[in-house]
Amino acid sequence: MAYTAENNSSSLMAKAVKEGIFAGVIAFGMFLLFVGIETYQDINNQLTWRTRWGLLAVFVAVAAIGRFLTVGFIKPHLDKRKLAKAKSGVLDISTDKSFFHRNFLKIALLFLLCYPFLAMLIFGRQGSLKYVDNFGIQILIYVMLAWGLNIVVGLAGLLDLGYVAFYAVGAYSYALLSANFGFSFWLLLPMAGILAGFWGIILGFPVLRLRGDYLAIVTLAFGEIIRLVLINWTDVTRGTFGISGIAKASFFGIWSFDVGAANNFNKAWGLPSSSVYYKIFLFYVILALCLITAYVTIRLRRMPIGRAWEALREDEIACRSLGINTVTTKLTAFATGAMFGGFAGSFFAARQGFVSPESFVFLESAVILAIVVLGGMGSLTGIAIAAVVMVGGTELLREMEFLKHVFGPDFTPELYRMLLFGLAMIIVMLFKPRGFVGTREPTAFLKERKAVSGSFTKEGHG
């Protein structure tokens, strides 16, 4: 390190300024048409345009200053930290973890069990509705879906871009069978899962020979086919109007949550009439379903089939030469993952009371896959954290009324929900390409189970 610090920092500043100006110019070019000019329909319904130079200036300034700060201050700081870490020579592995860290799972489970009552205590009966339904149930549905997809993508290494198809099969199975035959939720829940599992096998057969991106596009196509059939087969599915008035789940047939019913849950327990009790019940149902998914995943990983999945992910050729039947291995992975998607789907239909093809677009598959990858494929805890951060974060955005005071009354935070979701996907991947939880529990080990870095696990080639 011969050069002086002063010389170094002045050249760094010059570089930062140069990079900042460059970024500003690029941003100006990129946003000139799309931000600088607004197209709109005037009173005569004619498409015209007007300029928005102020907004364009803001975009350019943000890009330029952001780049300047990154190059001038943030990056040198990060480099210095990295250097210091490398110089110290000792890897930072602390063996004595904090109490919270060690008992994270137990604490999280305890919190989830108490969550609806905590929400009711803090926000009152009606106020808690939002927290139990929009946050609790919504996030848990995504946790379950992501754990289901994790079996296919994270364990077996088969890239599935059409997972939402099985979710749709589950939801429509429940909606149609309960509307046409009057079966109850508790009968249809396993049935929807089995039907979705069958669809998993039906999809699995043709794609057995496909690998990698070919597999990705066929699964995507399959998801789209299911959605298009749901839209166009109007005699059965009522097309884009969807199916409404789907029966609610009952308390195992003992008490009903329908308001008019004789065995109404609220009446039977002398509770004031409120939909919050139904939501709390649903919260525990989806929590139980999630726990079953996690339990099955953990147990399966220790069984021959789970080991075969992971072996398939690591090396398909070695797998075949060692006598593992890759056909059944792939098919069971597809079927098991699809089955959990079906469970989640039928739960979704019961909770929503309404299903339409709108809920099963490709974006949903992308969101679920993003949660699996962002959480760190194969790590159940990481996936749950990713679901809380990504889904909870975007739900939180709906609640940010105070932003209206900052940006004016026209500002609708919901409009920016998906924009921010996409940005978050990119940013998390850039900083943590291995996901939130970078370590894996090995399936096979000598003497004791030690966490290994996620970069040692392969992602499979389908």
Binding site: F34, E38, L47, P433
Partner: protein, 300 residues
Amino acid sequence: MEYFIQQLINGLTLGSIYGLVAIGYTMVYGIIGMINFAHGDIFMLGGFAALIIFLILTSFFAGIPVALLLLVMLLVGMLMTGLWNWTIERVAYRPLRGSFRLAPLITAIGMSIVLSNFIQVTQGPRNKPIPPLVTDVYHLGNITISLKQILIVVITSVLLFAFWYIVNKTPLGRAQRATEQDRKMAALLGVDVDRTISITFIMGAALAAVAGTMYLMYYGVAGFNDGFIPGVKAFTAAVLGGIGSLPGAVLGGLLIGLIESLWSAYFSIAYKDVATFAILAIVLIFKPTGILGRPEVEKV
């Protein structure tokens, strides 16, 4: 028979547009082995750039000749999307090069969400219609060919030739093919790999912008969501033709266009996309690497 030829012409037009977008997918896949999910939205951005340029030019110069108007729309659109795709590659894909396979896929899907929502937020969620640009129609017996169809096929053919020339006959093309075959070896032999990849992204985006402009001209409407379905179909075309193969992308695009228009004509319009995807699945079952794709040799 005439009806059939008519549908053939329609399919060819549509197929040209898909083919142009598919080239962008296949080139990026060939050179860095990732599915650039945001490519469909780049196509949408190209359409929007053309739409905005159209509005500006027609409001300033009322009687502007259509040929000049189209040329400016195409050029600005190509420049614009080239810039966007260059930035996207720099920001979202380059830092993850050499990372595991799904990481750039996730950022690409994120980028796709960001781009379509960015346009929704800045330009509004409604579809934007424009008055028809080219209205001339020719009759050959009972067959109608519109000038815009001829334009689309001619522009596509010219671009494809130019493209084929660049990839096969210029030093840049040689660098691209070298990078595609072996990135490390190409770098050792003095190919600027980063620059080559950047240029590939710019070229793909420029073709997507042309496709977007022609899509706008053909249908007369642009919407923030327009990138997804054509994007998926173009990607389907690229896979059908054998991903990584340029002639395959064009062939796949034409096939998809033909399947779509023939299926709508003889069976049902509602299920045309189902037919496209089903045929993709069937072709891949019997030929898992696409029609012109090279089988992947795996070394143990």
